[in-house]
């Protein structure tokens, strides 16, 4: 009898956070996971990054907030969320029964905001790790400043680091000249992992009505349209830091995800791909397994960064 080769191990480690499957669902795209539970078996996901939460409640931007564009989506939600106190009181307890990792996402407008919200949220057992969203492009000038200024990025990271011992992922913006430079200071400030990238700034104009399509005028572009931008960003960051990277931007298939892995990402995140087809995360996980099995590779970790000669991370 032929013994079946062991299934490849596609687990991933982000600091102290272990994912049995290397797929996180992107912040703001998957709610708290529960919203998708009727469409997807959540146990087959690595984890869900929750919608970003801020210190105070935010009603978010006016509608329209979405514009579908070629190979992607423009969004300007504007960080609508109930604020940390109401979130802790009414929402967080419901995350306890998620059969996958739960990563809290923290957004802010000051260094103190990041520290405060991180401390409050990370203190809860339901939260396995924190992602610091220092890169939201849809809340006026303040939101993205943190990811675009090395000094602010460093201070926000340091403040959040001091506020929790749980794994800390910092999410970087592509809307900078030198993403590797930001990555370096964020690593030095104590981040356990980096999420690369958030959305790319963009806009669309209704030529019949002669006005911008988004109420917020500009928005964040996501989906397949930004994938090459995101792969390059991961490539560059992977040559600059040793901490693990969560690659994201337009992942819709296992081969897309593998581009990120080969560039240097330890895990991947899927946002807009879920809107294209809710089965994308399952296809990504099974396709990665098949790819490894076909090549006789035992673990995903072995191929992280293997297309990138300058890859500095640990495998």
């Amino acid at each position: 009898m032929v013994t079946k080769a062991a299934e490849p191990d596609i687990s991933a480690r982000l600091g102290g956070l272990r994912l049995s499957v290397p797929t996180l669902m992107g912040s703001g795209c998957y709610g708290s996971g529960e919203e998708y539970a009727s469409l997807v078996d959540l146990a087959q996901l690595g984890g869900v990054v929750l919608k970003s939460v801020t210190r105070l409640p935010r009603l978010g931007n006016d509608a329209p907030r979405l514009v579908p564009v070629a190979s992607g989506l423009l969004n300007a939600i504007g960080l609508q969320n109930p604020g940390i106190e109401s979130y802790l009181a009414s929402d967080v307890a419901k995350f306890a029964d998620r059969p996958c990792a739960v990563v809290g996402s923290v957004a802010g407008f000051s260094v103190d905001d990041y520290a405060f919200v991180t401390e409050r949220l990370a203190a809860r057992d339901e939260i396995d790790a924190i992602e610091l969203n220092i890169s939201c492009p849809n809340v006026g000038a303040e939101g993205e400043t943190f990811a675009c200024d090395p000094d602010l990025a460093e201070r926000a990271t340091r403040a959040a680091r001091a506020a929790t011992a749980k794994p800390l992922i910092v999410k970087l913006s592509p809307n900078v000249t030198d993403i590797a430079a930001i990555a370096r200071v964020v690593e030095a400030a104590g981040a356990d992992a980096l999420a690369v990238i958030n959305t790319v700034r963009g806009m669309a104009i209704d030529v019949d009505r002669v006005k911008p399509k988004l109420a917020n005028v500009s928005g964040g572009l996501s989906g397949a349209a930004i994938r090459p931008i995101a792969v390059l960003a991961v490539w560059e960051v992977a040559r600059a830091v040793r901490i693990p990277i969560v690659g994201q931007g337009g992942i819709e298939t296992a081969r897309d995800a593998l581009e990120f892995v080969l560039a240097g990402a330890t895990a991947v995140s899927i946002g807009t791909g879920n809107f294209t087809d809710p089965r994308v995360p399952l296809a990504v996980a099974s396709g990665i397994r098949t790819y490894l099995a076909e090549r006789g590779i035992a673990t995903l970790a072995e191929i992280v960064g293997s297309a990138n000669p300058g890859f500095r991370g640990a495998r």
Binding site: G31, Y36, P68, P82, D277, G287
Partner: protein, 276 residues
């Protein structure tokens, strides 16, 4: 690609029939037994674009009987264009049924249905159910031109009265469908409407004038369709039974409403509770 296990609301359906009653209007029938069984009037599906190149499209469930449902497509852009090319035997992945449909009980026993264009697609199941439950139903149906007024006879066959309007006057009332209702002077207990936003706003105004309540089904752009992304919001009175829980907002916020997700709290809302 390997065969994927699909949880309850994701369905691989197959096109069973297709007709094109007018240029750029296509009705595709699908073998979709689960959706056909479970669909409530006013619910929708998210249709995965066959090329996979764009986000899925929200479509109202037009007909549902036996093992078959149908979808009505009006070609307005790349996704509806692609879906309209589907032929008998093609596969189509649908997530659904999704959303809260019409509150039929609350519509009472004498209902005006108002359809603008493809909004008709979300009103056939409500019409059939209301009629089956013994209500009187009259359809006011508007489109840009005579040919685009498709399938009014399905409503007549179900027992509804029908009045028509066209933007170019080629059939029925020349002008807006809301004017038609006001002009024909029939009285109704309530209104249920689906169509483009400007029409639904007009329905809201008309309902207020007539002193009746209206349920309107909104057709804005969706991304997730399941309440996860907060991309499809509409301003709603805090006091609405459909308002999502939301704390009092921060100092400096002048907006006194909440944002409800059309895909999750809706797509049907009471027009007098919307703040748009």
């Amino acid at each position: 690609m390997p065969v994927l296990e699909t949880p309850p609301l994701v369905h691989e359906t197959v096109v069973s029939d297709r007709r094109e009653p007018f240029s750029d209007i296509v009705i595709i029938g699908l073998y979709a037994p689960k959706i056909a069984r479970e669909a409530r009037p006013g619910q929708f599906v998210m249709a995965v674009t066959p090329s996979g190149e764009r986000v899925a499209t929200a479509l109202g469930i037009y007909e549902a009987a036996g093992d078959r449902i149908s979808l009505m497509l009006v070609v307005v852009g790349p996704r509806t264009r692609e879906l309209a090319l589907l032929e008998r035997g093609d596969r189509l992945v649908l997530a659904g049924p999704l959303g809260n449909g019409f509150q039929l009980q609350a519509l009472g026993k004498n209902v005006a249905l108002i359809a603008g264009g493809v909004g008709l697609a979300s009103l056939l199941l409500p019409a059939q159910r209301l009629l089956a439950d013994g209500a009187r139903v009259h359809l006011y149906y508007g489109a840009r031109t005579a040919g685009a007024l498709v399938d009014a006879e399905l409503f007549e066959a179900a027992g509804a009265g029908v009045s028509l309007a066209t933007d170019d006057g080629s059939r029925g009332h020349h002008g807006y469908v809301t004017e038609l209702l006001a002009r024909e002077g029939r009285t109704h207990e309530t209104i249920a409407a689906c169509g483009p936003s400007p029409m639904l706003r007009a329905v809201g105004t008309l309902a207020r004038t007539l002193g009746v309540r209206a349920q309107v089904s909104l057709e804005e752009t969706f991304a997730c369709g399941v309440g996860a992304c907060w991309g499809c919001v509409v301003p709603l009175e805090r006091s609405s039974a459909q308002a999502p829980a939301f704390p009092p907002v921060a100092p400096g916020e002048t907006r006194d409403y909440v944002h409800a997700r059309i895909c999750k709290e809706g797509p049907v809302f009471w027009s007098d509770e919307l703040r748009w």
